[in-house]
Subunit: 142 residues, 2 copies
DNA sequence: GCTTGACTCTCCAGTGGCTGGAGACCTTAA
DNA sequence: TTAAGGTCTCCAGCCACTGGAGAGTCAAGC
């Protein structure tokens, strides 16, 4: 049973984040010391590592909850897990497409811009124009 | 001189957002009515549209401020504008690369997962393993 | 003139997922 | 015994809004 600092080292998560996960009920320490210190079991630390990985893939805390439930449930089906991941894959694909559009439009504008001492600038003109439209029709990272 | 609702229609921004831009000093209305209603000039509305476009490309409000200054400044150099865009392009490229990594890793895991009624699941195993590393070494959209 | 409905105002709270800091308490080693 | 470091709770802030309450204002129709 490790105090929070040790759990932080083992899980490679900040202490603050681990306390936050406790607060929101994502991962609660198995026990508390007499003086109220959080005490994390090895199993708890495995869960912290699990959540860190899941978060690194951009899943929300809510999805972490779902995946953690599946992780803990011996009667889970791989179908459930795969569905969650498949949905995320579609999201990621959409974001990549949108960001490529943003990139290409910006790159074209930058290419057309002289980048010299004169004020004339197709980039500014593009942002000013009434016709300019978000090329992806959705915001980056939204 | 339009009240905020009309400015919202013309700029295609929510009323709340326009009030927020006033509050943070990004775009202040040219005038106020006797009763304290915000009144936006055509120039103000052009700035709102400008900022909407810039935001749609994922630039921060702070960068909007910089670009708005350049937009307003007849002595700007296109070099300054191009530098800002070039920096953003590098950011976007990095994010696209990172997201592609995430995508490919997730896609591989999904491919390897049977997605049936059994609990065995390479996705869960990957998230559980101590060795699993964020393939991009940076979080999505951070 | 009166009512109705749409518009606007300010102020406060919430979003997600933390992060930082204050101030108090606890533990451990020299 | 003292100092350093760890931990606790609580509150505030980040970004860029968004939602809602409650009050005031405006324009149209009767």
């Amino acid at each position: 049973m490790d105090p929070i600092g040790t759990a932080a080292q083992k899980s490679e998560l900040p202490v603050k984040t681990i306390r936050y996960y406790d607060e929101i009920g994502l991962i609660k320490p198995q026990a508390h010391s007499e003086k109220g210190y959080r005490l994390y079991s090895e199993r708890d630390i495995q869960k912290l590592i699990f959540v860190r990985h899941v978060r690194e893939f951009g899943f929300s805390i809510d999805t972490c909850r779902d995946l953690l439930d599946l992780y803990e449930n011996p009667h889970r089906t791989s179908k459930e897990v795969k569905q969650i991941v498949a949905k995320k894959l579609v999201e990621i694909q959409a974001k990549i497409r949108a960001m490529k559009q943003l990139h290409d439009t910006l790159a074209r504008l930058a290419h057309d811009c002289h980048g010299d001492q004169r004020p004339d600038c197709p980039i500014i003109e593009y942002f000013s124009s009434d016709q300019a439209v978000d090329p992806s029709h959705q915001k980056e990272c939204s």
